[in-house]
């Protein structure tokens, strides 16, 4: 997917002014933040469980080569075919090839963020395969020709009126108003798609190395349908998603839905291994697993490796005060919020996403809820360091930082400079003791006054007071 993160600042302005979006985002707090809080406490020893989850991810990442080989060997032994893709384009080529090989004309797809990286649907349409998104949110977006704005709740930016209008227009049926009616209508429209699809496409939340299985969590049941009914199943996921054992994946499943949607468990957790047996009545005859690198392997062994622990729960964005105010589209690529602000520069280019590492107050709410303990603010800070080292910061910012540091390392000069500055600011503050304009800092003063300083510094007053 094209990275439009360069447009971040302009998008922020647009999103802050979008009243419908703001209304939609206001639900994040009650549904996701409070929802998580209510069920995460069910985990008796949360700190220990998070440590264990991080350790499970690290075990794999520290020896990804051998764990991937172990997974491949097991999956192959059970009849799955494992494909390796260097780039998003490779994924598209591989999946189009699979479709051709099996004479696929229609595909039903459950949610996959990796396929969003690849814009797989467009590629398949060009290859003559009709693709139907079946996750309700993704289906709505497919109808609306929009990208997801959240990795778990893709259509969080839309309200039900917008969905009702969209369905009425696209389905040519009387406009429904209730959410349940809209869901029923989508179910009825989509059921034939499941039944008739030649190929099912899904992501995989985890790959279990012990058994060669792909694990998928879903709520709607579409994930089960697309992996049960069509004769071909293609699961697409990142190379980092391997987990050693069924026990290890159980620990992660204990955290994932609780962190994501505030559910103790998702409705369906499906562990899919190999193809249908000879006597089976259902299940795919062909099971293909596509493993995508797309920049992930270069993070291994680097100081950004911890990002690969991510299990895509979305808790970081749900709890992020920046995301809560602008939504996901402003981030410009597949992954929004704190995890996206790290992944987008890493996978899609720091030079194309200069704002993302900086658009954070380092409030730390993301790291506090991350189930696999990714130190998200630290990683954002490291990206800022890279920007500094590579000369990607504005001259003005670099100068200000260097000047401040230069001054702060010279206490006497610092004392003099601050004494002058606070006196000037005090005068400018006038009777109200407020500065309404800050030259060179309109970012602040466009929306806020600046409380004028007292006019004398603590250090000078302290010296005059004769205290030691």
């Amino acid at each position: 997917m094209q990275n439009n993160a360069i447009d971040f600042k302009r998008q922020v302005t647009v999103k802050l002014a979008d009243i419908k979006l703001q209304g939609a985002l206001s639900r994040l707090q009650s549904r996701f933040v409070e929802g998580r809080s209510a069920v995460i406490s069910e985990i008796a020893d949360l700190p220990e469980t998070r440590n264990a989850a991080a350790a499970i991810r690290d075990r794999v990442l520290n020896d990804l080569e051998h764990w991937l080989l172990q997974f491949e060997q097991q999956a192959t032994a059970r009849g799955a075919i494992v494909h390796w893709a260097e780039t998003d384009e490779d994924v598209n080529r591989i999946v189009a090839g699979i479709a051709r090989q099996h004479g696929v004309r229609t595909a039903a797809k459950s949610k996959s963020m990796v396929s969003e990286e690849c814009e797989l649907n467009d590629a398949l349409e060009q290859a003559g395969v009709e693709v139907m998104e079946t996750d309700l949110g993704e289906y709505i977006l497919q109808l609306a020709h929009e990208a997801p704005s959240h990795i778990v709740a893709p259509v969080v930016h839309k309200n039900k009126e917008e969905v009702a209008d969209l369905f009425a227009e696209k389905h040519q049926l009387p406009r429904k108003t209730g959410i349940a009616e809209l869901c029923r209508e989508a179910r009825e429209i989509l059921r034939p798609a499941f039944l008739n699809a030649d190929m099912g496409i899904s992501g995989a939340n985890f790959l279990v190395a012990e058994t060669g299985s792909a694990l998928i969590v879903t709520n709607e049941g579409n994930g089960r349908l697309v992996t049960t009914l069509p004769r071909v199943h293609v699961a697409i996921t990142g190379i980092e998603k391997v987990v050693p054992t069924l026990e290890d994946v159980s620990t992660l499943v204990r955290l994932l839905p609780r962190s994501a949607t505030g559910q103790s468990i998702t409705n369906y957790v499906s562990v899919l291994t190999g193809t249908r047996g000879d006597a089976d009545h259902d299940g795919p005859e062909h099971f293909h697993i596509v493993l995508l690198d797309n920049g992930r392997s270069k993070l291994l062994g680097s100081d950004m490796q911890e990002m690969l622990r991510c299990i895509r729960c979305g808790a970081c964005m749900n709890h992020c005060p920046v995301y809560q105010n602008i939504g996901g589209h402003a981030y410009g690529w597949v992954y929004p919020g704190p995890m996206g602000s790290i992944l987008t520069p890493l996978l899609s280019g720091l030079e194309k996403s200069p704002d993302l590492p900086n658009a954070s107050t380092f409030c730390g709410a993301c790291a506090a809820v991350c189930p696999v303990k990714i130190p998200l603010p630290d990683l954002l800070r490291k990206l800022r360091e890279q920007q500094m080292e590579r000369g990607m910061k504005s001259r003005q910012e670099t100068f200000m930082l260097k000047a401040w540091a230069w001054l702060a390392l010279r206490p006497n000069l610092y004392a003099l400079a601050t004494r002058i500055a606070v006196r000037v600011m005090r005068l400018l503050g006038g009777k109200e003791r407020l500065l309404h304009r800050l030259p060179g800092a309109h970012g602040w003063s466009d929306g806020r006054d600046f409380p004028a300083p007292a006019g004398r510094t603590f250090r000078e007053l302290y010296r005059q007071g004769g205290r030691k």
């Binding site: 380092f362 730390g364 709410a365 910012e397 929306g447």
Partner: protein
């Protein structure tokens, strides 16, 4: 106990009264307080903007000035977090220095954390009368676990009624240079915070970090609220709030 007091650059320049209020509280707690004369800034602006080098230089300066004290106390959670959590991290490549910073970090406290847990201050000098609401600044809360401490201290003041706002632990949008670079977004976040403050009907919004307080006050005043007082917790506890 001998306490080195680091006033922080913001308090030094913008609101020195908070520094004197802190001294009064530390002395009330029976500490011998020393204010090293050449202190300036902890280096956080550079550190958080990716300028490691200058942050390292300032950290070394800080070490030289404060290493000899039993404790180091600051009226700011974010600067205390810088020293406790990030200084040792800055010198990971140098085990000896990193250990010295870690040891210094162990003795470094945010003011209310120190007063409540270490000095065990039970009677504060202040006599504030009125309803207050408390904003939990991010670094103090998440890096230093400062939440109960200021509330426990405020609870010792008979005249103070604490009326909690919703989402008191959500960021106010300050974030240092963030507030300048992403002014519009920062202002929106401040605005959300101000609405929560206003909804409590409190006489004063109280917090432990001047950066957040300037941000909140700036937005309150710009939106026409000239009555809600914006106070550092040290000012309330010490009775130096004027």
């Amino acid at each position: 106990m001998r306490v080195g007091f680091f006033v922080t650059c913001l308090v030094d320049t913008m609101r020195p009264g908070i520094g004197f209020a802190s001294l009064k509280l530390l002395e009330a707690a029976g500490c011998e307080v020393v204010v090293p004369e050449h202190q300036t800034c902890c280096g956080q602006p550079g550190y958080n903007s990716g300028d490691h080098k200058s942050a390292e230089a300032m950290a070394l300066k800080f070490l030289a000035e404060f290493e000899t004290f039993d404790y180091v106390v600051l009226p700011s959670g974010s600067c205390a977090g810088m020293i406790r959590v990030h200084y040792p991290d800055l010198f990971k490549h140098d085990p000896e220095l990193s250990a010295r910073f870690a040891a210094l970090g162990q003795r470094t406290y945010e003011l209310t954390d120190f007063l409540h847990r270490i000095a065990r201050l039970e009677k504060v000098p202040g006599t504030f009368q009125g309803t207050v609401t408390y904003h939990d600044s991010c670094s103090g809360l998440r890096e230093l676990d400062v939440y109960r401490q200021p509330r426990a201290l405020l609870a010792t003041m008979p005249g103070v009624k604490l009326q909690e706002m919703v989402e008191s632990t959500t960021c106010c949008g300050f974030g240092g240079t963030f507030s300048l670079k992403y002014g519009e977004l920062s202002t929106r976040m401040a605005d959300n915070k101000c609405q929560h403050i206003t909804a409590t009907g409190a006489d004063a919004i109280v917090g432990g970090d001047l950066g957040c307080l300037l941000n909140i006050e700036g937005r309150l005043r710009r939106t026409g609220d000239h009555t809600t007082r914006v106070l550092h917790v040290a000012e309330v506890l010490s009775g130096e709030e004027k």
